[in-house]
């Protein structure tokens, strides 16, 4: 298959950095952005002088409690006397950040981009859940007094029904990811738990229980992207961004079947086509599917076409997605294990694939040889899919 678009420059990731992920860090959002940006620049052996453009991602302003977060985060992200774009597509933001950084470089506009994702959810109290009340349609939805978990529970229930997946099947994702996170130095929710622990945790909106969900987190993550000529100069092991995909499905989320993430299949097809990937289930070696909830990882494995529809729970049981398995998913520990500072979490997933493809993940390194990888994120009100495909 031939790539379907014209790009002026090939794009590589040449550096990545993270802060700690925790529920409440001392640092301000700006300081978090700076810490992650500094780590990413250092790992690439570059300084801000070498950076042409900045892309910053952060989800709802209401979490940090500072309106116009793009401007607020600008200088902490290196956005000083340079072009800066703030990206926001809800939970999909984290993977949208490298996608947008990609087109800055691929277009020839910038040779180097510093891409930063930041979120500080602990500011809102007693729980940021209250802030979510303002994302609902004021006429159709808010009168019902909804909780954000409702829609995920509705989706999970539909997936369970159509795919005949049990709560036990789904809980295995949480068990796997929290276990994987034990080897991640930034992890907030790493644990050795059992399926039973998940099933005995607090029931929030059945079928969603406390351990089915990723935690509330603060944190930042950053990447340095560069054109081929710069990448070859600064590193011997660039990780190429081979494809990006973005799709928005119908905003009327209760007007479509929630059992299958169509938004993701379309975004993935766009990215795979660009990357020349025809059989993702055979060609992808390692994946970071977006896992804010445990069922979402299965949902997204299917949407990324890494498994047939409704087949992911069975493959999971067989250990297919373990770090030692045939197609390891969320080797980082994902959002369930490492934590979910929304925009930073998606960037963390792409950073993990960067380290995996360079064989730098240490204890987290997957067993099999790796060459091609895919990450996705999902958000807005359930309908946006963002995908990047990487390769060495």
């Amino acid at each position: 298959m031939k790539p379907n678009i014209f790009v002026k420059d090939k794009v590589a990731i040449v550096g990545a950095g993270l802060t700690l992920f925790r529920r409440r860090l001392l640092e301000t959002p700006r300081e978090l952005a700076w810490e992650a940006a500094r780590e990413a620049l250092n790992s690439a052996g570059l300084t801000l002088k070498d950076i042409d453009c900045i892309v910053v991602g952060s989800a709802p302003d209401a979490f940090d409690g500072i309106h116009m977060k793009g401007e607020y985060l600008a200088d902490g992200s290196g956005g000083f006397n340079k072009p800066l774009v703030r990206v926001f597509v809800g939970g999909g933001t984290g993977v949208m950040v490298p996608a947008v950084a990609w087109w800055h470089v691929a277009s020839g506009l910038c040779k180097t981009v510093l891409a930063v994702g930041e979120e500080k959810m602990s500011h809102a109290y007693p729980h940021p859940q209250g802030v979510f009340a303002y994302i609902w349609d004021p006429i159709l939805e808010r009168p019902l007094g909804p909780n954000l978990i409702w829609i995920f529970a509705l989706e999970m229930r539909r997936y369970m029904h159509v795919c005949k997946a049990s709560k036990e099947d789904i809980a295995l994702v949480s068990v796997k990811n929290k276990r994987n996170a034990l080897d991640h130095p930034a992890a907030q929710a790493a644990a050795n738990i059992t399926v039973d622990d998940v099933l005995k945790s607090e029931v929030l909106v059945w079928p969603v229980q406390l351990l089915d969900i990723s935690p509330v987190s603060d944190g930042a993550a950053a990447l340095v992207l560069a054109s081929e000529s710069v990448a070859r100069r600064v590193t011997d092991t660039p990780v190429w961004v081979e494809g990006i995909g973005v799709t928005t499905d119908n905003t009327h989320w209760f007007n479509r079947d929630l059992a299958y993430p169509r938004y993701l299949e379309y975004a993935a097809r766009m990215a795979y086509k660009m990357a020349g990937i025809e059989r993702p289930w055979k060609e992808i070696d390692v994946a970071e599917p977006y896992d804010p909830f445990d069922y979402k990882e299965l949902h997204h494995i299917e949407g990324l076409m890494l498994a047939r529809r409704c087949e992911a729970p069975k493959l999971l049981r067989e250990g297919y997605f373990d770090r030692s398995g045939e197609l390891p998913t969320s080797p980082s520990g994902g959002l369930l294990g490492v934590g979910n500072p929304i925009a930073a979490a998606g960037v963390m997933k792409v950073a993990e694939l960067f380290w995996q493809l360079r064989y730098e993940a240490g204890a987290r390194q997957v067993k099999k040889p790796v060459h091609k990888a895919v990450a996705n994120a999902w958000g807005d009100l359930m309908q946006v899919g963002t995908v990047v495909v990487l390769s060495t």
Partner: protein, 177 residues
């Protein structure tokens, strides 16, 4: 192992309170939303005990909730069509928490209802539907899956209590055979 460093200092709730310069702030912002061209009419319909949709002249789908454009064809929807209000439960859940994550005394059952409306193939991915409370079904109906596919219809509030709001429908309840 990468990352080699993960900067950031974890602080507990108690530590936060001891720090200098902690600011508490509660935003005060009030809004009054207009329902717009399509939903104003839809809400007027609810007040009369009717569920109204809009017909796309091109693909012939009846869109519920109505919009002034068909997002599939991106053209103006012209005609108002009343749908019977009956449908099937697409998915349903039991909520034990409220909007701010507080525990509810009495759990609520919420569902997505695929409405009977012209213009969609049987079992199509896209459908006309609403999101509402379900009544007359038990938690066990939700957990066992009995509720999915169940035929339901709106239970209307008495006319004098209707305000032109989604809450003019009290809930969707099973259609007794």
């Amino acid at each position: 192992m990468k990352p080699e460093r993960t900067p950031g200092r974890y602080i507990r709730e108690e530590d936060l309170r001891r720090l200098p310069g902690v600011i508490e702030y509660k935003p005060v912002a009030r809004y009054s939303y207009s329902a717009g061209q399509a939903l104003s009419e839809f809400l007027r319909g609810l007040k009369e005990g009717r569920i109204l949709g809009k017909l796309c002249p091109s693909c012939r789908r009846v869109l519920v909730p109505p919009r002034v454009y068909c997002e599939f064809c991106f053209i103006h929807t012209t005609e108002w069509v009343e749908v019977p209000g009956t449908g099937v439960v697409e998915t349903a859940v039991v909520s034990y928490i409220g909007t701010a994550r507080e525990r509810l005394e009495k759990p609520e059952i919420i569902g997505v209802i695929r409405l009977d409306a012209p213009g969609y193939r049987e079992g199509s991915f896209d459908f006309a539907g609403l999101f509402h409370r379900l009544c007359g079904v038990t938690e066990d109906d939700v957990k066992s899956g009995r509720v999915i596919g169940m035929r339901v219809r709106p239970r209307w509030r008495p006319p004098e209590e209707r305000r032109g709001s989604m809450l003019d429908i009290e809930c969707f309840e099973p259609v007794q055979p």
